[in-house]
């Protein structure tokens, strides 16, 4: 059986967190989809709150603490990523954006990414497409066409026309898209930033610059 690694980033702040709840549902659905395609899946889930100080420190000093480094490595090395943020003030949370800011250039390049968000009202759902999707596009991630937004009513079984069933549909749609992209890509070794990618003769000639 072939393996795939799936990283999950949740930027929820509360405990319990609806953002984490959504992340867990997406993760379970993606693991199911990958398993049904014959892959064993290793998942690593990161709660950004646990690393909030280290993320700020990285911005200030330019290098990650050992524990943040292992988080960054797990994301860079993963075959796919599920990124879930609460929507605050018309965009992803500041913590989520700060985390994106400390990811090294190219960390997400070519990586299948499922974007998802939670918010206090369904009126913020387009933040997924006007804030999170362009951010991921800038990072050259391969963003899944379906983004998943969960508003408060989506968690309610008693909601009219069961919007929780609709959320479920979106979760499975997005998870299937992610699994498909992860399945058809070979697992890639991560690039070592300290590795020399050129010879000095090339540098002298002005090549590869």
């Amino acid at each position: 059986m072939t393996g795939r690694t799936l990283a999950v980033v949740s930027a929820g702040l509360r405990q319990p967190s609806s953002t984490r709840l959504l992340a867990d549902r997406l993760t379970a659905a993606a693991v199911d989809e990958l398993s049904s395609r014959g892959f064993t899946v290793t998942t690593s889930v990161v709660e950004l709150r646990d690393h909030a100080h280290d993320i700020t420190n990285h911005m200030l000093t330019g290098f990650p603490s050992p524990s943040l480094q292992s988080v960054l490595s797990s994301i860079v090395g993963a075959d796919g990523l599920i990124a879930v943020s609460p929507i605050f003030t018309a965009s992803v949370s500041g913590l989520f954006k700060s985390f994106a800011d400390v990811l090294e250039d190219g960390s997400l390049a070519g990586k299948p990414v499922l974007i998802a968000a939670t918010g206090g009202t369904a009126r913020h759902s387009l933040a997924l497409d006007h804030a999170m999707r362009p951010l991921m596009a800038y990072m050259r991630a391969v963003v899944m066409p379906t983004g998943v937004y969960a508003a408060p009513e989506d968690w309610s079984r008693s909601a009219p026309e069961s919007s929780s069933a609709a959320l479920n549909r979106r979760i499975h749609q997005a998870a299937a898209e992610l699994a498909e992209e992860m399945a058809r890509r070979e697992s890639k070794p991560r690039v070592d930033p300290f590795e020399l990618s050129t010879t000095f003769e090339d540098l002298l000639r002005g090549d590869s610059l």
């Binding site: 420190n57 200030l60 000093t61 290098f63 300290f194 020399l196 540098l203 002005g206």
Partner: protein, 360 residues
Amino acid sequence: MQFGIFTVGDVTPDPTNGRIPSEGDRIEAMVTIALKAEEIGLDVFATGEHHNPPFVPSSPTTMLGFIAARTQRLLLSTATTLITTNDPVKIAEDYAMLQHLAGGRVDLMLGRGNTGPVYPWFGQDIRNGIALAVENYALLRRLWREDVVDWKGRFRTPLESFTAVPRPLDGVPPFVWHGSIRSPEIAEQAAYYGDGFFANHIFWPKEHTQRMVGLYRQRFEHYGHGSADQAIVGLGGQVFMRKNSQDAVKEFRPYFDNAPVYGHGPSLEEFTSQTPLTVGSPQQVIDRTLTFREYAGDYQRQLFLVDHAGLPLKTVLEQMDMLGEEVVPVLRREFAALKPAHVPAAPTHESLRQAATVAS
């Protein structure tokens, strides 16, 4: 092994009393620190080069020439000389002149500079940083080694029948170190020429140093300059000492917490565990410094940063007294005992002159 001081030359308010030295105070303090370095038996004083506030040392050879006139033994160096935005012709001339005035007590450390706006002020672009470092240094080498140079490149106006004057003292160019925190291309450049490599080794995790020095050593051997353990390595280090380590921590903390580079970020405790910063007793500094060779190998030059973040000159001079009396003598002895015979010392003007005489 050479021991010395390197200074950034920042003008930073003292966070404990808000006092801000004038530029004149700071320049004078840098000179005092250099003279003190000679007095306490250190080998090297190296100054930074900056072209923006809050830094003062824009003209290193002016300062080093002044220090040269007031010292007998001290080796004068830079940390770093901007190989990207300085004209290599002017570097060739300025440092050859300094060599003559200082009787050969000169080497220099080249760096790219990481302040984006400085590049356009000098007609360059930070995105060409590596390319500038490579082309400018290739020209600088020729200007020191060939009496008449014809040259054409990407970044500066061509040269036709150009002679850089004065010629290097005794026909021996100053030894060059290349400094970089995390650009493997610069370790490669140092290795290619058989020059020295200096790892900044302050403010950053030791793993950066380990990777960069490892690459440099391996490529030094690849290019046939000797075995990997014979490559010429220098390291930085940052220390603050008091007799009792608790006093050191207590006194340094406000300077740490408000420091320009890392202040308001990690705690002093986190930063000392994650980077080579050592705050404690002289013995703790000795112990920590001796561990550097465990990941960098036997190395040739150790420079300490002791004067940044608004520390008053009086405190800096006390730090230097402790370095001179308690730390460096022990480190000299210990490092010498550990170093195998086939590992060379850092080149000096005298050793390079003798090597050139033997070769011709």
